[in-house]
């Protein structure tokens, strides 16, 4: 099983005592109706109401800001971290 530090991509991460206490409370809580799972999805969009699947081109200023935010740029290319093969 994967540990939480790997799942979270956080070095040395460990489950915390405070959060575990919350989980204990939820385990103990009474759950009267086990069949109601997934009923709380009234925010789903109806098929008739889906937005059109179109590509919207960002304005130039927006593109420039996205590039500015990117961690690294070299010779006009955005540079991602070095990829490893496993």
């Amino acid at each position: 099983m994967m540990t939480v530090d790997i799942l979270s991509s956080i070095k040395g991460a460990k489950p915390s005592e405070a959060v575990n206490k919350l989980f204990e409370a939820i385990k103990k809580a009474n759950s009267t109706n086990n069949n109601s799972f997934n009923k709380n999805h009234t925010n789903a969009v109806s098929l008739d109401d889906l937005r059109d699947d179109v590509v919207i081109n960002s304005p130039k200023f927006e593109k420039q800001l996205i590039i500015e935010n990117f961690p690294k740029e070299k010779n006009g290319y955005l540079v991602v971290a070095k990829v490893i093969e496993e």
Binding site: V4, K11, V19, K21
Partner: protein
């Protein structure tokens, strides 16, 4: 008294110029020692103010919100300005676009003055989990400003902004409003578009106003509401008119949760003040019913389990490649994990780890799925209650604001302090904090989509308690 209407009249009658109004508030924000500001939008704000002045000078009509200075919690996008979420990771992040709710306010002519301090990514109830220094309470600077929209509530309370836009996932507008004696409204989930609000827990994230009067809350809410194709959970709502919320005769029954009050966890003064308010309401002829509700620790655990699961997923994109300040490691995975461990705060890491714990194999059934199940039961409980009562009234918090430093030492106590706000978030209900009734105010809640009734009852209480 509506601050917006007062300033609008002063501008129209040329008693003040918009430039002076904006400059004065910017000066107050800049020199304030409550740590409410992450970045000032001075150049932008003054340029907008000049345009408003030119319009007035030319004898043109100005809209009600035109020239009104406001603040924005630093989790919203405003194109070209910093959007840090009070975090190290996004310290230098610039918004590439503008949030829908903010754009609507800009279109109405309101002038943004500052990006406001808050708990990092909304993770906190005290506005101490921030790289910009703990927000200090408006009334007593030894105490916390509340959270996560602490900077916004303090700015409104101190008149540094006329209103501010906060974000509420589990109480983050209502609790700081209560701690600083102002109004704070969490609308029905979906009434205001979330587009451009950095996601914390998407199924309860709400955009809402903090202000000094019910009328100002109404004005701002109307401007921000509406369906938005960029947030498919948003819906079309009708405008709430001023005259519609003046008469509360249709409100016949009010309920409150007995177990919120009959507990040792509540401060005795908040308890007696709450019960005294109930007596005053009864005296007007309104019927008051005691209601049964889930235990406070069940509510808090359900909320945090689901919110942590959602935030673990939402924040997974903050890895130094897609977003955020990258710290290079030996390889891609190493880069991700160094970037995240160095740049996230302890509280944010605690929540991400908690979220991944409950989403992982072996844990999801007994914790996450049970949490979803409990949420459904909570919603059903609300549906049942609103067949019996028109309004539910609650305290905002069990206790008065803690001293700065206390919440960081005891995260569990901080989570439990959200006991009275998280239930209404899970139910996606409209809830308003009013600065009356107890030391940290009262919460007024109505059934889903009935935001108008909440404001109506608030108006009624103004003269009743």
């Amino acid at each position: 008294m509506s601050q917006i209407r007062k300033i609008h009249t002063q501008l129209k009658n040329k008693e003040i110029t918009c430039t002076k109004l904006v400059q004065d508030r910017l000066d107050l924000l800049k020199s304030n020692t409550h740590n409410t500001v992450n970045s000032l939008l001075d150049t932008f704000a003054l340029a907008l103010a000049e345009k408003v002045d030119a319009k007035i000078k030319n004898g043109q009509e100005i809209g009600l919100l035109e020239g009104i200075p406001f603040g924005i919690k630093d989790v919203y996008m405003l194109q070209g300005t910093l959007a840090t979420a009070s975090s190290e990771l996004l310290k230098n992040y610039k918004s590439p676009y503008t949030a829908t709710a903010i754009q609507k306010l800009l279109d109405a002519g309101a002038i943004p003055l500052a990006k406001e301090n808050c708990d990092s990514f909304g993770h906190g109830s005290s506005s101490e989990n921030t790289i910009f220094g703990a927000v200090k309470n408006a009334v007593n600077t030894d105490l916390v400003g509340g959270g996560s929209s602490g900077g916004s509530a303090v700015n409104v309370a101190k008149d540094f902004t006329v209103f501010s836009i906060g974000g509420d996932t589990g109480g983050s507008i209502r609790q700081p409003a209560g701690y600083n004696n102002v109004f704070g409204f969490k609308p029905t989930y979906g009434r205001v578009s979330r587009f451009g609000l950095m996601a914390y827990a998407s199924s309860t994230d709400c955009v809402g106003p903090i202000a000094k009067s019910i009328e100002d809350i109404r004005i701002i809410l109307n401007v921000m509401s509406g369906k938005d194709v960029k947030d498919q959970t948003s819906y079309q709502s009708s405008e709430i008119s001023a005259s519609n919320i003046l008469n509360a005769e249709e409100i016949k029954t009010v309920g409150y949760f007995k177990n919120f009050i009959e507990t040792d966890a509540i401060d005795p003064e908040i308890k007696s003040a709450f019960l005294a308010s109930i007596e005053k309401i009864k005296a007007t002829g309104i019927q008051v019913k005691e209601l049964d509700f889930f235990e406070a620790d069940t509510l808090v655990s359900t909320y945090y389990t689901l919110a942590m699961a959602e935030t673990a997923s939402n924040l997974s994109r903050l890895d130094g490649t897609n977003y955020g300040q990258r710290i290079e490691g030996e390889n891609l995975k190493d880069t991700y994990s160094i970037t995240r461990s160095e740049n996230f705060s302890e509280e944010t890491k605690r929540r991400i780890v908690g979220g991944n714990q409950v989403l992982s194999q072996g844990f999801s059934d007994e914790i996450y799925l049970k949490g979803l199940n409990l949420r459904d039961q909570i919603s059903e409980n609300f549906e049942k209650d609103f067949k019996e009562v028109d309004i539910i009234l609650s305290p905002v918090t069990p206790n008065t604001p803690p001293k700065i430093g206390e919440s960081l030492k005891n995260p569990l106590a901080m989570y439990l302090s959200d006991a009275y706000t998280v239930g209404f978030s899970l139910g996606q209900l409209p809830t308003l904090t009013i600065p009356q009734g107890t030391a940290t105010g009262l919460q007024i809640t109505a059934a889903k989509n009935n935001d108008e009734l909440v404001l109506k009852f608030a108006n009624f209480l103004k003269d009743t308690i």
